[in-house]
Structure formats: C-alpha cells, structure tokens
C-alpha cells in the first residue's frame, strides 16, 4: 500500500516545494515592488507643489488698489520658476510688486515658498473673478482657485470702521485702547537716523489669554535698526491714566523726497464670554506718518565725500613702529561714532611709496545707546614695505555730513612714521615677500565667480575609493569569474574518462619505462619489450585506443592525423622501430645502449607532451 502511495507523496512533496519556491519568488517580487513603490511615493511626495492666490481687500472702491499675492509652495527646491502671467485680467490694471521667497525646515520636512505680489487697480465697478492664474514647472501646469473681488463706486464703499479706528472701548470691561505712531523728526536728511515710535495706550488690559499682535508697516525706503521695547510707563492724558507700551525702530532714509509710512496695526484679542458668543479680535490702526527727507546740501561738499551721515571720529595706529623690509605690519583704522555704521564706506588710505597695501579685514562693533545706533568699524590693512628708510603713513581724511550741525565735517587721523630696516633675508632671496606679478595684478582686479547652483546633487564625494564596497566588488569580481571558469573546466575534465586517461598517459608510461630498468643488463628482450609497451600504452592512452594492436606505422598515422610535427612523429616511430628490431634480434645491451634507449623513450614522450600542451588544453 505504501509502495502504491509513494508517487502521490512525492508529487505532494514536489508540489509543496514548488509552492515554497513560488512563494519565495512572489515575496521577493513583492519586496522589490514595495521598495520601488516607496521610492516612487517619496518622489511623488517630493514633487508636491501647490499654487494659491489671495487678494486683500476683497472689496475696494474704484480709486483704491488691492494686493494680489500668488504663492507657490513645495517641499522641494523649485529652481528657476517664472512668475505667473496675469495679462488675462482685463478689469484691472496689473502692476508687478516684487517677489519674496522663504525656506523652512520643520523637523525633517522642508518647505519652500515663493510669493509674487501684484497691485490691482480697478477699471470699472462690478463683481469680478480673477482666474486663470497659472504657473508652469517642469512639464506640469498648476492653476490657482479663482478669486472674487468686488469693486464699488467711491461713495458706496462700505465703511470699514474696524480697519480705520485707532481707539477702541471695550463695552464689557470699560477699558479704552488707543494706538498712535510718530517719528521724532519728520524732516531728516538722507541717511540721518530718525526714530519711529509705535505706542499702545490702554486703561486696563483686555482679559484674554492672547497678547495683542503688532504688525509693523512696510519700511522699504529705509535702512532699519531694531531699537527697544518700552513698557510699564504710565501717563495721565485728559484726566485718564493710561499704561503705555512703545516699540521703536531706527530709520535711515535711503533717498530724499516725501515718504508716507503706512499705518501700523494692532490686533486686540477679544475672548468669548460676557455677552460675546465667540472669541474674536479688533484691529486698531495708527495714523500714517509722513516724512520729508531732505537731500544733503551740495555746497561745500568735500571732494572725497562718500555719503557718510552722522557724527564720526577716526583713529589710525600700527601694530609696531619698526619693521624689516619685506616684513608686514598692520595698520588699523577705526571709524567710530553715531550713525548707520553698517553702511559707512571704507576710508581712503593714500598710496604709500614702496609699500604694498592689501585688502582690509573689517570688524564691526555696533550697539544702541539712547535709541541711537552707535559703534565702530575697524579696517585692518596689512602693509609690506619693500625698501628701508623712514616712511610716513599720512593723515587719512574721512569726510561726513553732521545733520545736527547741518554741515560737512572732516575727521582726520594723525600721521604715523614707520622705520623700515634693511633685511638680509630679502636681499638673499630667502623667505621674502616677493613683489606682485603682472598676473597677480590682473587677478587682483577680478572678483571671484558666483556660488554653485543648489540644484546640484548633494552627494558625499569620497577621497578613498578602497573604503567602499564597490571598489572591492569591481576588483574581485573578474578574479572570481576567472576562478569559476577554471574550476568548471577542471570538474568537466574529471568527469570525462577520455580526458582522465589522456591526463594520466605520460605518468603511466614513464612508470613503465622506470620498471624496464630492472631488465636492462640481463634480459634485453624484456627490457626493450617493456619500453615498447610503455610507449604503445602512452599512444593508446593519448588517443583513447587499445595499445594491443599498435605498431610503428599505426603510431605514425595517428601522430600525423593529430597534426604533430614531422620531427616529433619520426622520433617516436624510429624509437619504436628500434625497440622492435632489438626485441626480435636480441643482442647484449651495454650500459650506454640502455641509457640511450631510456633517454629516447623519455624524449619521445616529452616531445609529444609539449605538442599536446600547445594543442590540447
């Protein structure tokens, strides 16, 4: 019964093995499928680009403008992306207002966004849709959702009390809240510091967990410096006690003319409760502030004036008074004072005969004192004198405009004398500071090339290839292949009996020849017979035939068929013929004859083996 069932069991077992292998291959395929899908899902995720558009305000009157912001966001580098085309908005005059970009890293998530701003000036009254805002990136086009904007006649514009009020009284707490903005000097000179102050006055805090949120106005026409926040001050105004919080910004006007600083905003959080159904906010808006920036006077302007405004002093010193020719010393020029230190131009160091002056290193020390930007900028020049003697670094003039005195001033350094000694090393041409070559002069006028684009792959470029697996793989793989083929050939040879016989032919023949030695002197017939048997055995093994029927003629034929040279063939045939002759007409063999016979047998085998090595691998 068991015997009858055996084929069924074998079938079942084979089937189970087959299923196992299939499952393995299926899982392996699934694994790679999953890996590929993970890769593609990462890629798809990394290509997540969204386009959004927003317009503020959504209701404007005919003589007002609205701001349209188009934002493209992605979690990858966007590269060169063109602004959206907004020509298809016939109801508005559209002007481009600039772009801003932002990079963020939250956890390990990158977000990149670019926002383009447009100013929309309506041409007519009505309800309009701004649609077809599109951008192209790669081969794809992204479209933003349409936006509705309502343009009303000037008289019919709904009042926006919330956005124009600077005062708010909270009916429930009874507290009053006011905001105001001002500058300390509405008529500054270009690059003169003024202080913009935003004030928040309140009789009592609004009960809320959130704090009021301040929105600074756009200050694009100024260099700005954050000053300080003042709070806790109290003042009685019109019989009411107010707490006052102040935010100050130092402003340096960039150009002359009338500048209107837009209103600042303060959003007051209003918590739910006490009659309020839900939490909300109330926005208070300051008055706009006008600044008339005066140009710097043209009269009596120093010739080398470079736009420095403020009150400054200048000081120069060297790190030593005596140096050797070819040795360097450091000239430190420190410009210090009140004003926009970050923009002060470098002082003009006069050309010094027989001295090479190199680019300075710049160090800033900037602070705020009494709401004024103050500090210093130090320029460190390395100077190399080339000749001995007493040399003078002349006074350095540093002109500036003093807005308080309303005239130009010139700060000066004191001349510095340097004693340059002769230098034996320089004369000997040792480790001296050689002069600048023409090529160097050419390079000194050139600027460095720009940074590499960030679209380049950020890979780790290794210096030591042997530290990587790939190096060892490509080096060992060919050797492994060669060894594999060699082993394969060896195994193939062992399995083939013809091959085995052929490989062992010489060894067996030489063994028989050695055996013949024992008959050498006493039995010449046996001696030559054994030698002949050895050679016939060798030929038989070589060509996989029986040695029994072989004779010299057959051996010649076989050797010729195998393509052995004539000399090799003749040698073995002659040897065999000689052995046959002595076997059938025996004479006493001398020791010389024995030795000669043995050598001829060995030489014949050796010759054939050489040829065989060349022919049969």
């Amino acid at each position: 019964m068991g015997t009858r069932k055996a084929p069924d069991w074998r079938f079942r077992r084979a089937f189970a093995l087959h299923v196992s292998r299939f499952t393995f291959h299926f899982l392996r395929s699934t694994l790679f499928g999953l890996l590929v899908s993970v890769l593609f899902s990462n890629a798809a995720f990394s290509q997540n680009i969204t386009l959004s558009a927003d317009v503020t305000p959504k209701i404007i009157s005919l003589n007002e403008t609205a701001t349209l912001r188009v934002t493209v966001s992605a979690n990858q580098q966007l590269g060169n992306i063109r602004p959206p085309n907004l020509k298809a908005v016939p109801e508005f005059n559209v002007s481009y207002g600039g772009a801003s970009s932002q990079y963020n890293l939250t956890g390990n998530q990158i977000s990149v966004s670019i926002t383009w701003t447009y100013v929309l000036r309506p041409k007519k009254v009505g309800q309009f849709m701004v649609s077809s805002i599109q951008i192209s990136h790669g081969n794809q086009t992204y479209t933003a959702d349409p936006i509705s904007i309502k343009v009303v006649p000037r008289s019919k514009k709904p009042s926006q009390s919330e956005s124009t009020q600077d005062t708010f009284t909270d009916a429930f707490s009874g507290s009053t809240h006011k905001v105001e903005a001002a500058v300390d000097d509405p008529h500054p000179y270009v690059n003169e510091q003024i202080i913009y102050t935003f004030r928040y006055l309140y009789t009592a805090r609004i009960p809320s967990f959130n704090t009021p949120k301040y929105t600074r106005p756009s200050l694009r026409q100024f260099w700005t410096a954050e000053l300080e926040r003042k709070q806790g001050r109290r003042q009685v105004i019109d019989g009411t006690l107010y707490s006052i919080e102040e935010i100050q910004v130092g402003l340096f006007p960039i150009a002359a003319g009338k500048i209107t600083i837009e209103p600042a905003k303060l959003s007051l959080p209003l918590a739910a409760g006490r009659g309020r159904l839900q939490s909300s906010s109330r926005v208070l808006v300051t008055n706009p502030v006008e600044v008339n920036v005066r140009p710097l006077p043209r009269e009596s302007k120093p010739t080398n004036f470079a736009g420095t405004v403020g009150q400054y002093r200048i000081h120069a010193q060297t790190d030593r008074g005596t140096v050797e020719a070819g040795d360097g010393f450091t000239l430190r020029v420190r410009v210090a004072g009140t004003g926009n230190i970050e923009t002060v131009p470098a002082p003009t160091v006069p050309t010094l005969p027989n001295m090479a002056i190199y680019d300075p290193q710049i160090t800033d020390a900037i602070g705020i004192v009494d709401s004024k930007v103050q500090g210093s900028r130090t320029y460190e020049y390395v100077i190399i004198p080339s000749k001995e003697g007493h040399w003078t670094v002349p006074a350095i003039n540093y002109p500036y405009f003093d807005p308080q005195a309303e005239n130009y001033q010139i700060a000066r350094t004191v001349p510095i004398t340097i004693n340059v000694l002769s230098n034996p090393n320089q004369a000997a041409g040792g480790t001296t500071l050689a002069g600048i070559t023409q090529s160097d002069m050419h390079l000194l006028k050139q600027d460095i090339r720009y940074i590499k684009p960030d679209s380049l792959e950020l890979s780790d470029q290794h210096l030591y290839p042997y530290k990587h697996v790939s190096f060892w793989v490509v080096q060992t793989l060919p050797i492994a292949a060669v060894l594999s083929v060699w082993f394969y050939r060896q195994r193939q040879g062992k399995r083939d009996p013809k091959q085995v016989r052929r490989q062992q032919a010489a060894r067996k023949a030489l063994s028989l020849i050695e055996d013949a030695k024992k008959y050498a002197t006493d039995e010449p017939v046996a001696f030559y017979g054994t030698l002949a048997s050895g050679l016939y055995q060798y030929i038989g093994d070589l060509f996989d035939i029986s040695p029994g029927g072989l004779n010299p003629q057959l051996v010649r034929q076989r050797c010729e068929d195998a393509g052995f040279p004539e000399s090799t063939t003749t040698q073995i045939v002659d040897t065999l013929t000689q052995y046959d002759y002595v076997r059938f007409a025996p004479v006493a063999a001398t020791s010389t004859d024995v030795e000669d016979a043995l050598n001829r047998a060995r030489a014949s085998i050796s010759e054939i083996e050489k040829e065989r090595q060349l022919k049969i691998q």
Binding site: S20, T23, N108, Q109, Q361, L443, I451, L456, Q461, R489
Partner: protein, 271 residues
C-alpha cells in the same frame, strides 16, 4: 505508512523553509525601509541647510551663510559646499578660510574651473606670494588632475580586458589565439598594476599634511616655545604650508633648504 511519515516530515521541512524565507524577507524589508527613511531624512535636512545657506548668501548675509555651509560641510565632503563656503568666507574678508575651503574643494574636483579660478583670485590677494610646501615629483603630472575614483576606473579597463582574456583562453581550443591572448593578459595585468601604483601615489599626495595660515600673521620660531628665536619672516593669512609634526599647541613646518620652523597651531588649519 512509511511513505506517509516521510511525506509529513517533508511537509514540515517545507513549511520551515517557507517560514524562514518569509522571516528573511520581512527583516530585509523592515531594514531597507528603515534605512531608506533615515537616509532620506538626513539628506533632506542637509539639502534644506544647503538651500538656506545659498539663499542667505544671495541675500548678502554671509556670516549666517557660513554657519549653514559649515553645518553641511561637517556632515559630508562635497566640493560645491566647500566652494560656496569659500566664497562666503571671501566675501567676509576671511581670505585664509576662503583659500582653505577652495583647496578642500580642489582636492575633490581638481579640474573644476570655478574652484581653480577663485583659488587664484584669493591667492593673488595673499601677502605671501609663495607656498611653503615640498615640490612634488614630476610623476604627479600624471595624476594631479585626476580624482582617485577616476584612476580606479581607468585601471579597471586593462584589468577587465585581461580577465576576460583569461576566461576566453580557458574556453577556446585555438592555440594561436590563446597565445595572442596571453600577451593581452600580460599587458592588461601590467596596466592594472600600474593604475594601482598611481592610485597609491595619489592617495599619498592627498594624505600629505597641508595646511593654510588662517590668522593675519604668524611668527615662525625655532622651537615650540614662545620665548624661542624667530627664524624666518612671519607668514600671513592664506599661505599654504606643509606640516612635518604636530605637538600640543604647535606645528612644525617645512621651510626651504631642508629647514623647519614652529608655528602656533591656532594659526593654521589643515586642508
């Protein structure tokens, strides 16, 4: 009945085999997913830092850009990062660090035109118009412009030709063709060994302890001691030097005519 036992035994073996395959696949899948996730996260962080560094550079905020680039350069060796870092230092007037980073970039991409140009521009502003390094042998002309990886790939060509020839020799019967292929094997082998020799020389050159002076000026002394004699003119920012020895806060440098001197280690930074 005996057959039935065998069958049952066989089925259990197969089940075990299937289970082991399944466990292997699950482990492999988990490890791969974890590795890919970790790698992509670290790569994203680096790329974000690199992009923000570029944005800061473009906005003229060089000091902040330097901090970001240094952060990236601390994690990977990349010539573009070193190059951009060098630019940011150059804009800050820190020529020594600029040259240091251009040299690091050049070591990774020796033929990059921008790197070589900026290195020349920065070095033209050096006070010292020389480098205190031992001259390399004329042999270095062979591999100076090649990266180690490129030398490996060039050497693989004769190597693979030689090994393919070896395989063919074993598989064919034509003894004349075999004899010709033996010469190919010999020449290919020599070519491969020569490439390994060049690679060794290149690695040796890379490992030479070069450094850049990063302070404004540094005095060369006869001994590692502030009180020792000054034996040469001071070196200035941006000069390339070759170190012979490092000892505590001092480094011994090569000077011409087989002389040597000592510098404060704070004044130099290795490439």
């Amino acid at each position: 009945m005996r057959g039935m036992k065998n069958w049952k035994y066989g089925r259990i073996e197969d089940k075990k085999r299937i289970l082991s395959h399944f466990i292997f696949l699950v482990c492999f899948l988990s490890f791969s997913s974890w590795w890919m996730h970790a790698y992509s996260q670290s790569q994203s962080t680096l790329e974000a830092s690199y992009w923000s560094a570029d944005a800061l550079y473009q906005g003229g905020q060089y000091q902040q850009a330097v901090e970001k680039y240094e952060q990236v350069a601390g994690s990977i060796q990349n010539s573009a990062v070193y190059y951009n870092l060098g630019n940011a230092y150059f804009r800050l007037g820190n020529r020594g660090k600029a040259i240091l980073n251009y040299e690091r970039a050049k070591r990774l991409t020796p033929r990059d035109k921008d790197t070589n140009f900026n290195l020349k521009v920065a070095k033209a502003r050096n006070v010292d118009s020389f480098d205190l390094v031992k001259p390399l042998s004329g042999f270095s002309l062979l591999y100076g412009a090649l990266r180690p990886n490129e030398i490996v790939w060039i050497g693989l060509i004769p190597y693979w030709i030689a090994t393919i020839s070896l395989i063919v020799i074993q598989l064919i019967q034509n003894h004349r063709f075999q004899r010709a292929l033996r010469y190919v094997v010999l020449i290919g082998g020599i070519g491969w060994l020569f490439s390994l020799l060049v690679l060794g020389l290149k690695i040796r050159e890379i490992n030479l302890p070069y450094a850049i002076v990063i302070t404004n000026q540094v005095t060369v002394r006869s001994e590692p001691d502030l009180g020792s004699e000054t034996i040469a003119l001071p070196l200035h920012e941006g000069t390339k030097i070759q170190l012979q020895e490092e000892r505590n806060d001092w480094v011994k440098i090569y000077l011409p005519d087989e002389n040597s001197g000592w510098l404060s280690a704070d004044a130099v930074e290795k490439i």
